[in-house]
């Protein structure tokens, strides 16, 4: 009990979360002191007549930790699992879980080679990162320094316990609570989510589900010689990063396929977007993903270019140290949108230039990412002054 009490004081489920969990499991309140305690009995079908459990709600009370630990132990015992498992089940209700399952032969002891396990875990990591990167302007490829918000997100997500059988790697994505700083499963803070909006983390998992579905659809539509459907899917969050992440698992010998599942947190303050999403990706599709990663990836032109034009797009996420602008410029005689990443000071100058309809001049390396053009390694960024009449 002492370990459980200690664990609960350091970021485990609250009494309210436990009560919410019991409600979703069909338990009924049979008595309560509002804001202080509630007493629950299990559904009749559970077969425990006369049993009830007291759940503490007021965290300020001196006996709150002991009562909560006692309640968790009691319910776990009645339902036939360990107190730690009870804590885990409740905590997972406040997190989305993205599971990556490979269909392959594993040893009778349920193990797989470490090299394959590493590929699987890295595929999970890179897929989550690709979805997080797609929260800003959608691009066919991301490289270089990641936005701060993406970095923070990747530091908050957790690797769950792999499940036996077909090897499954679950990634736990704790959701921030709107309007508050939440103690996440890791015990660290999370950014605020605006009232009425999905938490940022939910946006990422939604994007992941949408993007993987779109990538699979693009793979079905494409052929070895025509990968344009993947370009069309960039708007849905597909990128070379995402395709490379998933496609890399084809290097696992004896792999037959992969399944990506997204389970939504069961929280009353964050609406789950329907049932959990399960996407099966057979090996041939994973190979097509690997091809698409090359198609969408960088094609270095290695060309120094000076461009000028008006700014038509602005994009900056709060907290980031860089912003992105889109300049309508002539490249090779063709009017194109050229994307440029700027440090914050220059980005603010760009915002003023956009508002005042002024031309800007940039010099850097023009890189083609599929049909998208970016100017990188910037050496010049100048706002053209207004010519007086």
């Amino acid at each position: 009990m002492t370990d459980l009490v200690f664990a609960l004081s350091g970021g485990g489920p609250t009494g309210e979360e436990f009560a919410g969990y019991l409600a979703r499991q069909g338990w009924t309140v049979i008595g309560e002191i509002p804001g202080r305690t509630s007493r629950w009995e299990p559904p009749a079908i559970a077969g425990h007549p006369g049993y009830s459990v007291l759940v503490p709600l007021d965290q300020r009370a001196s006996d709150y930790p002991q009562l909560l630990a006692s309640a968790l132990q009691s319910v776990a015992s009645v339902l036939g699992f360990s107190p730690d498992d009870a804590v885990r089940r409740i905590l997972l209700e406040r997190a989305d879980v993205v599971s990556f399952e490979v269909q392959m032969e594993s040893a009778p002891d349920g193990t797989i080679p470490l090299t394959d396990g590493r590929r699987l875990i890295m595929a999970g990591y890179d897929t989550l990162e690709a979805a997080a990167l797609a929260q800003g302007i959608r691009r066919p490829y991301w490289r270089g320094r990641r936005p701060q918000r993406t970095v923070e997100f990747m530091e908050r997500i957790r690797l769950g316990l792999p499940r036996l059988g077909s090897y499954v790697v679950p990634v736990v994505v704790p959701l921030s609570i709107a309007g508050t700083l939440e103690r996440s499963i890791a015990g660290s803070g999370a950014p605020l989510a605006l009232e009425g909006e999905d938490p940022y983390e939910r946006s990422v998992t939604r994007t992941l589900a949408t993007a993987v579905l779109a990538a699979k659809a693009a793979a079905d539509e494409s052929t070895a010689g025509d990968l344009r459907p993947f370009q069309d899917a960039v708007a849905a969050g597909v990128s070379a990063n995402l395709c490379a992440a998933l496609g890399s698992t084809r290097d696992v010998p004896s792999l037959e396929g992969m399944e990506v599942e997204v389970s939504w947190a069961q929280r009353s303050d964050v609406v789950a977007p329907g049932a959990s999403v399960s996407i099966s990706i057979p090996r041939p599709i994973l190979s097509r993903f690997a091809e698409a990663a090359i198609y969408l990836g960088p094609k270095e032109t290695d060309r120094e270019e000076l461009i000028s034009g008006k700014i038509e797009h602005l994009d900056h996420a709060e907290g980031d140290q860089e912003g992105t602008i889109g300049i309508r410029a002539s490249v090779d005689g063709i009017s194109r949108m050229v994307w440029v990443e700027l440090p914050l000071d220059d980005y603010h100058r760009a915002v003023r230039a956009h508002d005042e309809n002024l031309d800007v001049v940039c010099r850097g390396t023009l890189v083609a990412y599929g049909p998208r053009r970016m100017l990188e390694s910037l050496s010049v960024f100048v706002v053209q002054p207004t010519l007086s009449a």
Binding site: M1, I33, S62, D63, S70, Q73, S74
Partner: protein, 162 residues
Amino acid sequence: MCMERFSVAHIAAIAANAGCGLTEERVDEDGIDLHLSRQGQHAFTSTPTIAIQLKSTTSWTESPTSIGYELRKRNYDLLRGGDYLVPRILAVLLMPRELDDWILYHPEMIALHHRVYWMSLVNAPESPNEYSVTVAIPKSQLLDTQGLVDLMNRVAPDGLRL
């Protein structure tokens, strides 16, 4: 250990007779041994619960109105003050010294010796003692079946109505 199990059995019998549910805490790290609850609407709340620190003793002092019991300082402090979600009481089982006298067997019944008294220390003052505090448990607060029902009817949202 035997005295401890006997005292739990004693309370369990009373609780069952009073229609109370009993939960035994496996590790006494907060000074609480048992929780008793009784379903249904009572005087001040629905399905009240009390937390019991249970002691048993073969030596006590007695006056016309109270039982004197020497309580460890740590246990005394765990029962007094604080904001507790579940009201706490001290319950002391007075027992015979001889093991053979704990239970009296009769062809038609068995009798558990002797009796349990209870008290609340929620408003008790801080003690300067280092090891123990002698508490005076009112003899009027006998924890038998009716006493337990009456106790449950004292449980209110803000604590025990004394």
